[in-house]
């Protein structure tokens, strides 16, 4: 019986053996052997297999064109030429054929492309870095929120720095030595954030550069997240403190326009207590400079021994 379903086709074991025997003996020999035998079941099967396979010979084929060999050799020659040309482009000999005019034209195009392309590339790079910085701040914001949940709403403050209310005021430490943003390292230490996310990736101008500034607490006010409302919590490094640390006070611009050095003073990313991130081209919010404590008008009067700021004052330092 011949099955009609394509899913159900299988040769009998005897047929499989007959085909194997034919193949192993070589088909031509198989034909002779099968035809010269008596009419045993095995030879009948081999004959049937051969009759079927012989039908394949009826497949229509054309005799290939005699030019096929020439066409093949021509194609190989073409490929060889193309390959040689590609190689020649990389050998020193190429400039022998190159005219000075061509060289000049290429140089001019390169110069123009560099002149136009370089600033564009720089702007694109700066924008990408600003975005990376904002992403890091977003991580910091989420980490602070998680930390606050786990610590009865308190913001991170490490005892190794003497606590937020003790160290700056009590020890009369200079801002240039006191790492206020060191409190943020608690986030890393307790597994809320990775070390890399506690820095701005845009700044490359020195070891102090690239840190984030952290909110300095107000006098007699608990340092808790829910009490911050929508006010700045973390931002790019405070430029005044940065300049003091690098000993470059004289070059400071007027404080009202002084933006963070992290982004070449084009502006700064600011993380608010509601974990929103804003790119600000000025550090002044509602008349208050986030980089100066209350009552301080410029960098020169920035106290060397800072302390907790006045109530409602917003001051971020690293």
């Amino acid at each position: 019986m011949i099955p009609r379903n394509e899913d159900d086709k299988i040769l009998s074991e005897e047929d499989c053996r007959a085909i194997d025997a034919l193949l192993e003996a070589g088909l031509v020999e198989g034909v002779d052997r099968a035809q010269n035998r008596d009419e045993s079941a095995e030879s009948k099967r081999q004959n049937a297999a051969l009759m079927l396979l012989r039908k394949l010979e009826a497949y229509p084929v054309e005799e290939p064109d005699s030019l096929l060999v020439d066409a093949t050799m021509a194609r190989i020659a073409r490929e060889e030429r193309a390959r040689r040309d590609r190689l020649e482009l990389h050998t020193p000999g190429w400039n022998k054929r190159t005219q000075w005019a061509d060289f000049g034209a290429v140089a001019a195009v390169a110069l123009i492309a560099t002149g136009v392309g370089w600033p564009i590339a720089q702007r694109m790079r700066a924008a990408a870095l600003e975005q990376n910085c904002a992403n890091n701040l977003r991580t910091v914001g989420s980490s602070i929120a998680a930390y606050a949940v786990d610590h009865r709403g308190n913001l991170p403050a490490t005892a190794s720095l003497g606590g937020l209310f003790e160290t700056p005021a009590a020890s009369k430490m200079d801002w240039s030595n006191y790492e206020h943003s060191g409190h943020l390292l608690l986030l890393e230490r307790n597994g809320y954030a990775k070390h890399d996310s506690l820095h701005c990736p845009a700044c490359t101008s020195g070891p102090a550069c690239g840190t984030f500034s952290f909110r300095v607490p107000s006098v007699n006010t608990p340092f808790r997240l829910q009490l911050m409302g929508r006010t700045p919590l973390v931002a790019d490094a405070n430029p005044m403190i940065h300049m003091r640390r690098v000993g470059n006070k004289a070059e400071l611009a007027p404080p009202t326009s002084q933006c963070s050095m992290n982004h070449q003073q084009r502006g700064q990313n600011v993380l608010f207590a509601d974990v929103s991130i804003v790119w600000m081209v000025t550090p002044v919010i509602n008349g208050d400079n986030i980089y100066l404590p209350d009552g301080v008008k410029d960098s020169e009067s920035l106290p060397l021994s800072p302390q907790a700021t006045a109530v409602n004052d917003i001051f971020l330092a690293q």
Binding site: I2, K9, E24, P64, L68
Partner: protein
């Protein structure tokens, strides 16, 4: 077979030069060797490719691709081995590439399993049921067209193994090496190919008989 890479040009003109000797001469820089090799396989390989690809134009293209590849890989050819299986392996690979790039022919799905047990059938049944009865002689052209239709409809892998085994007379062992598949798989694939061919042939025969009646 010789491995002598210093074969002279005079020697190359001899009639009994093997494929491998031609490759050695080609590797040694004799420009006459490669065209001789191409000419030697012009008919046989081209026919194989026509049956594989179902078109002479496609066969032309793949034939050239094959020899281009042979030329580019000539340095890697191990002259202690025979050239023919290597050549057909490359040709089959190129044909498969071409085929995949120009998927236009309907084939029977390879995913469908081959059945077992009760659905077994024998070639004797097929041959006896599809033998031409008196007065039903099929014209050569008609039979040719039917064979082409049936072979072209076979799945690529089945068609390939059928052509290698029947037309090229490659042994199971050779096919196993060429296709990089186990010997048992070669056998079962060929059995499936023959079963598919037989079944499709029987079906077309019955359809043709119905049309004639």
């Amino acid at each position: 077979m010789r491995n002598d890479t210093t074969m002279s040009k005079v020697e190359l003109e001899g009639a009994e030069i093997s494929d491998e000797q031609l490759m050695i001469a080609h590797q040694a820089g004799d420009e006459r060797a490669f065209p001789m090799l191409v000419e030697r396989y012009r008919s046989n390989l081209h026919r194989y490719l026509q049956r594989f690809l179902g078109s002479a134009a496609a066969a032309d293209d793949v034939f050239q691709e094959t020899f281009l590849q042979i030329h580019l890989s000539a340095a890697t050819f191990d002259v202690t081995r025979t050239l023919r299986p290597w050549l057909y392996t490359i040709a089959s690979n190129k044909a498969r590439d071409w085929y995949r790039h120009h998927k236009r022919r309907a084939t029977i799905s390879l995913d469908k399993p081959i059945g077992h047990g009760e659905n077994e059938f024998t070639l004797l049944d097929v041959v006896s049921s599809t033998s031409n009865q008196p007065g039903e002689s099929l014209s050569a052209r008609e039979e040719s067209a039917r064979v082409k239709k049936v072979v072209d409809a076979l799945p690529e892998l089945h068609r390939e193994i059928l052509l290698m085994a029947y037309f090229q007379r490659f042994s199971y062992q050779h096919i196993s090496e060429m296709l990089s598949i186990p010997l048992g798989t070669v056998k079962s694939r060929l059995h499936s190919a023959v079963a598919l061919f037989a079944d499709t042939w029987a079906q077309t025969t019955h359809e043709t008989s119905k049309d004639h009646s």
